[in-house]
């Protein structure tokens, strides 16, 4: 932070000489490339699997995706013109590849019911992109979100408890109790809770980090925070994990817990938090193994996947083994879209879409997909690095890490690196809630990157003023606690936007 503060003057000089490029045209160009990939993939699907039915829906898919992508590009020109130019095209490419695969599986499906997932995916993509634009339009500056610390906490709790509310919860689907049903729509509130939790952690830790770091007793080398500073964090953590135990959703539990650890680490810079977190996680995992039957089953299925009796058992390893068969069949270069049998994999469109893609795109294709995720997450973290306020840094890191962890947990499950858990592969998998939530997440990342890249306006921004107030409060508190009580330190202007 100090480094950034000292960098600021030279950076400002440069900006004065040359206007910061907005890069929106580069984004448009990359967007066309992303649509090109989608068009090619979707056309291959229509012309191979859909040949007998003269399927032309690939045109609709590409036109809708293109129009919406262009819409987001224009919105960014209006409201966040310095936003990172790589994030949107990468997300559109992933979304498009996922759409093509879902379309391909639709065409292979013989049942009428299971053959319109692509249409609904396109609908949710559109809704997600519209939501992203609306969020951008309303918020403009991510720092306004900082003010609602306890609203985010309350929202997270409500979202996580919703599936357990009688009459609203959709009951147990695929072993997990994470859905709610409103009319004919079902929704996964957990997908949205991951955003509200990140918002809560970021705003709470952003404003309280000094207190957590400095106030409280020191025992040996360990600086223990005061209970009242940690209280709300523990509430959030306990509710998240407690509810997840009842909802039997291992994947989300790992994701929330990972988010919690990373954000507290980034806020405090102390590795001891990670160590404590991992120890707690190990204890939790051991307890889950011992006391929860469905966890034991999952682990058994994971370890003995190729045992014929486990393979044939109900709720056994059929899903993961068929996924591995598909990927192995794809091999290095894949069977090509329409050339494989991904329809043999249970839930090929959602949980197992990585395996479906693996069969037809091959190892080369999958490494490219992982690279897309690497670019997306790296740009998110780059935005966090560049953000001028600690809230933005924390939020940017938290949201990026959620994407990484969500992708990792579900894919590692498919690849049998760890037990399979039911999470949606971000942007690729069929599923409305996840798509909506992830597009909103992306719009927040875009806003943070806009804030990070835009030319500094010197002091006096909302950020600086607000941060100044907080800082003064902190200092007053410190002074008070040192027994050196004053009526309030005189307001002094802060240099640059950086604080803490």
């Amino acid at each position: 932070m100090n480094a950034l503060a000292t960098d600021a003057p030279s950076g400002m000089n440069k900006r004065k000489q040359r206007p910061q490029p907005t890069r929106r045209t580069l984004e448009l160009f990359l967007l066309v490339l992303a649509l090109g990939v989608t068009a090619l993939a979707d056309y291959l699907v229509s012309s191979s699997v859909g040949a007998s039915s003269n399927d032309t829906s690939w045109i609709t898919h590409v036109v809708v995706l293109g129009a919406l992508g262009l819409g987001v590009n224009i919105s960014l020109r209006l409201w966040a013109k310095y936003a990172d130019p790589f994030i949107l095209p990468v997300v559109v490419a992933l979304n498009g590849i996922g759409l093509a695969m879902i379309h391909r599986l639709d065409l292979a499906s013989t049942s009428a019911a299971g053959s319109n997932a692509a249409t609904s995916q396109l609908l949710y993509t559109g809704l997600g992109m519209v939501c992203a634009v609306v969020v951008m339009w309303i918020i403009r500056d991510h720092r306004v979100l900082r003010r609602f610390t306890y609203v985010w906490l309350a929202a997270s709790v409500v979202l996580l408890v919703l599936p357990l509310v009688p009459g609203l919860g959709a009951g147990t689907i695929n072993g997990a109790n994470i859905w709610i049903r409103i009319g004919s729509f079902s929704l996964q509130p957990g997908e949205f809770a991951k955003i509200t939790l990140a918002l809560f952690f970021a705003s709470y830790l952003g404003s309280k980090r000094d207190l957590i770091l400095l106030a409280g007793r020191k025992i040996g080398p360990l600086q223990l925070p005061r209970a009242r500073d940690l209280g709300p964090m523990l509430v959030a953590w306990a509710v998240a994990l407690g509810v997840l135990v009842f909802q039997r959703d291992l994947g989300s539990a790992i994701m929330f817990f990972g988010l919690f650890m990373v954000m507290i680490y980034v806020a405090t810079g102390r590795v001891s938090w990670i160590v404590i977190g991992l120890v707690l996680m190990a204890v939790g995992a051991a307890a889950a193994m011992m006391f929860m039957g469905h966890v034991q089953r999952r682990v058994n299925v994971w370890l003995n996947a190729f045992d014929p009796s486990v393979y044939e058992a109900k709720g056994g390893s059929l899903q993961i083994v068929q996924g591995l068969f598909a990927m192995a069949n794809g091999g290095m270069v894949g069977t090509g879209l329409g050339g494989g049998q991904p329809y043999r994999i249970p839930v090929a469109k959602s949980d197992m879409i990585y395996a479906s893609l693996g069969e037809e795109l091959g190892l080369i294709g999958m490494l490219a997909v992982v690279c897309l995720f690497l670019i997306l997450i790296s740009r998110g973290i780059r935005a966090a690095l560049g953000a001028r306020d600690s809230f933005g840094k924390l939020l940017g890191t938290g949201l990026s890490f959620i994407l990484a962890l969500q992708f990792f947990v579900v894919t590692a499950g498919v690849l049998r690196v760890m037990p399979l858990t039911g999470l949606a592969t971000p942007f690729l998998a069929a599923g409305g809630s996840a798509l909506l939530a992830n597009w909103i997440l992306v719009s927040l990342l875009l806003l943070i990157s806009h804030n990070a890249r835009r030319p500094s306006t010197g002091g006096g921004t909302l950020s600086t003023t607000e941060q100044g107030i907080i800082d003064r409060k902190v200092e007053a508190k410190r002074a008070q606690e040192a027994g050196d009580a004053g009526p309030g330190a005189p307001a002094r202007p802060l240099t640059g936007g950086e604080n803490a």
Partner: protein, 489 residues
């Protein structure tokens, strides 16, 4: 804070690197193993029956081919096996119930048109819109010899014949009885295939999942003496015109159990000293029991392993396959004496004994047995051609010629006279291995080659678990019938 963010990024990179590594493992390093998993049959079958799969050919005639199903069937194509019983151990089958076996499994990529050699064809098909066409595989098998070997084997027992071209290693015939109709397992209905499998499994001698010629091992009996001879000539214990003690019974040191010559045989005619020619022709045991004490277990290990003992013939694409056994743990003199006559823990597949004959036949150079003669693409372009490969130098040409000379004896005047064909110079060695003690059952063997001075074929024949009376002259007659077909006699 920024340093913690950078470290978080490193953690993200590690997570994604794990995914990349695991994907590479599944789709590249472990892909073959996963593809060949037994649980994976239906996926293979689906792929195999949705496009024209390559044929397996013998002499230009398809023994396994894909035939178009009528319009509206579940699968566009079905696999049809011609002369199925003759070739079941080679082609294997594609079955919804019993999985995928033998060449259908090991050559799947080639037959499907998805091997690396066909990569450019696939690219071309991508643009022309043609279906990928599988490649055709021509086997080294000679249909006439295969048929003769099948016919020569008795119907009532479990028996196997392997015929090699000793100069090239081409497998000219490899057939076992009792066989089965692979079409019964390849029916495109899981229930029917399962019912057929249950029915076929009732015959305990039928091998549905492996090829007996490369997987079933039994004691090689006196055919193993050929390996004693190689080792004995190399150490100088044996000479072509030497004479050796031929006592009726000989008791190895450290045991009270004597090794004896066969009661009903002709060895008793020369109960003291006998010439090596006589000993080999009449298959006397005691001289070899004594010889191996001098030759030593280690020398025998070295010689047998040159011929292929203790390693699997896994390059053939016939899976599973077993390694023939020369025991590696130290044997007592008594057990060593039993091992010398192909008993105790010595075990061999029929392919192994054919390799022994082939190595001696080809002046001490054993050619690697091979099953695939040629792979041709759908446009008849040759993707892979037969290339003879040396397996090992098993002994010197002189020693090979000496043993060839000795092997003429059994056919002319010894244990294999029934194999004789007028006008054909045949070298052979019989074997009769007792099964356990007091069962009265034996495994009958013969191995040899013809013409002795310039061999065109090397043969091994085994019929398992028969009485001595049933075994009498049986394998010699089978060899004779096969050779008649080979040389049109």
């Amino acid at each position: 804070m920024n340093q913690a963010i950078r470290r978080t990024w490193v953690a993200v990179v590690v997570l994604l690197a794990i995914i990349m590594g695991a994907t590479t493992y599944v789709q590249f390093f472990a892909a073959d193993a996963i593809n060949n998993n037994a649980l994976n049959a239906s996926r293979k079958l689906d792929a195999a029956n949705s496009s024209p799969r390559g044929s397996i050919l013998v002499g230009g005639e398809a023994i396994a081919e894909s035939v178009k199903n009528p319009e509206g069937s579940t699968y566009a194509y079905k696999r049809v096996y011609n002369d199925a019983k003759l070739y079941s151990g080679l082609t294997g089958y594609f079955s919804l119930d019993a999985g995928v076996t033998q060449l259908e499994s090991s050559q799947n990529q080639t037959l499907m048109g998805s091997s690396d050699d066909q990569f450019f064809d696939r690219i071309a098909n991508l643009f022309t819109g043609q279906d990928d066409q599988g490649a055709n595989i021509e086997l080294t098998i000679d249909a006439k010899i295969q048929q003769a070997a099948y016919d020569a084997l008795p119907d009532d027992f479990k028996g196997t014949v392997v015929v090699l071209n000793p100069k090239t290693g081409e497998i000219l015939a490899m057939v076992s009885k009792p066989s089965f109709d692979t079409n019964l397992l390849a029916v495109q209905s899981t229930a029917k295939a399962a019912a057929n499998r249950a029915e076929l499994s009732k015959n305990k001698n039928v091998r549905l999942y492996w090829n007996p010629a490369v997987q079933d091992r039994v004691s090689p009996g006196s055919t193993f003496k050929l390996l004693d001879l190689v080792a004995g000539f190399e150490t100088g214990y044996f000479t072509l015109d030497g004479e050796y003690d031929n006592s009726e019974k000989w008791t190895p040191p450290g045991t009270s159990k004597p090794l004896g010559n066969f009661d009903g045989g002709n060895c008793a005619q020369q109960p003291n000293k006998a010439s090596l020619r006589f000993i080999v022709a009449q298959s006397c045991n005691t001289p070899f029991g004594q010889a191996i004490q001098e030759i030593g277990q280690n020398k025998m290990k070295e010689v047998t392993e040159r011929f292929g003992f203790n390693s699997k013939p896994d390059w053939l694409g016939l899976s599973p396959s077993a390694a023939s056994v020369w025991p590696t743990e130290t044997m007592s003199p008594g057990n060593l004496a039993s091992a010398a006559i192909g008993q105790y823990d010595v075990q061999a597949t029929v392919l192994q004994m054919a390799m022994v004959a082939a190595g001696i036949a080809n002046d001490g150079v054993l050619m690697k047995p091979q099953l695939i003669k040629q792979v041709t693409g759908s446009d008849l372009q040759v993707l892979q051609d037969f290339k003879a490969e040396k397996y090992s130098t098993v002994t010197t040409a002189d020693i090979a010629n000496n043993i060839t000379e000795l092997m003429r004896g059994p056919v002319k005047s010894g244990t294999a006279t029934r194999a004789a064909i007028p006008g054909l110079d045949i070298a052979a060695k019989t074997g009769t291995a007792q099964i356990g003690t007091g069962t009265g059952k034996v495994n009958a063997w013969i191995t040899g080659f013809a013409p002795a001075d310039d061999p065109e074929v090397a043969i091994a024949v085994n019929v398992e678990n028969i009485t001595y009376n049933q075994s009498h002259g049986l394998t010699s007659t089978i060899m004779k019938n096969v050779l008649k077909a080979v040389f049109n006699k």
